[in-house]
């Protein structure tokens, strides 16, 4: 069975600072990896995904994540955050060929002025 660990439950940062949200997964088989973002009182939006190919994936709003198979990690990074990035971020994994998406417990990113 797959599992996901998000090492930080809360990450406070100042505006324009870099940020890294950590995600480690456990699986004995090949997986797909995802980051979802949930803004206050809203649903989940897909931020970026790793299905295959290049291990570095990017989103349209400046976030990137790198799949590291040896460390079983999929950390999310942004070089300079904005106030509007304040949200809950969820890492998720599913076994290739499976519909079951397993989520981490989320990391609350708070960007302060």
């Amino acid at each position: 069975a797959q599992s996901v660990t998000q090492l930080d439950s809360q990450v406070p940062v100042f505006e324009e600072a870099p940020v890294e949200l950590r995600c480690n997964y456990s699986s004995s088989v090949s997986v797909y990896l995802f980051w979802y973002v949930q803004y206050p009182n809203q649903g989940l939006q897909l931020l970026l995904k790793y299905l295959s190919g290049s291990t570095l994936v990017e989103s349209i709003n400046g976030f990137e994540a790198e799949f590291n198979k040896s460390q079983t990690s999929f950390h999310l990074r942004k070089p300079s955050v904005h106030i509007s990035d304040t949200a809950e971020y969820f890492c998720a994994v599913n076994r290739r060929g499976s519909e079951k998406l397993v989520f981490g417990k989320g990391t609350k990113l708070t960007v302060n002025p």
Binding site: F34, Y36, L46, K49, E88, S98
Partner: protein
């Protein structure tokens, strides 16, 4: 155009009542899901349907019954509501087993 929609957005009801939440997707996806997000924001899959056929049922009480009249709709009916059912319920859909697209959620409060 809304890709995955849910109604209602908010639902406040008393213990013991029966309620339904509706979900529709216009993405042409074959698979639909129901998730529960608890007060600590933890997300857990409840059900998954592929082409109207149940494929995942995650140890959910029998009081919860999903119904898929066609592959664009997946409704959730809950009987005899309990306080512990209070949560945000999300519907999602996907093509095959790739990324899932989520609806806006239904906040259920049982008093």
């Amino acid at each position: 155009d809304t890709a995955v929609s849910q109604t209602p957005k908010y639902l406040v009801t008393q213990m013991g009542n029966d309620k339904s939440i509706k979900c529709e997707q216009n993405l042409g996806h074959d698979t639909m899901y129901w998730y529960k997000q608890d007060s600590k924001k933890f997300l857990k899959i409840m059900f998954s349907y592929n082409n109207k056929e149940l494929i995942i049922n995650e140890t959910v009480p029998n009081r919860f019954s999903p119904k898929s009249p066609d592959k664009a709709h997946l409704n959730l009916h809950i009987n005899s509501l309990e306080l512990g059912d209070s949560a945000v319920y999300f519907c999602a859909s996907s093509r095959d087993t790739y990324e899932q697209y989520f609806g806006p959620g239904t906040r259920l409060t049982v008093t």
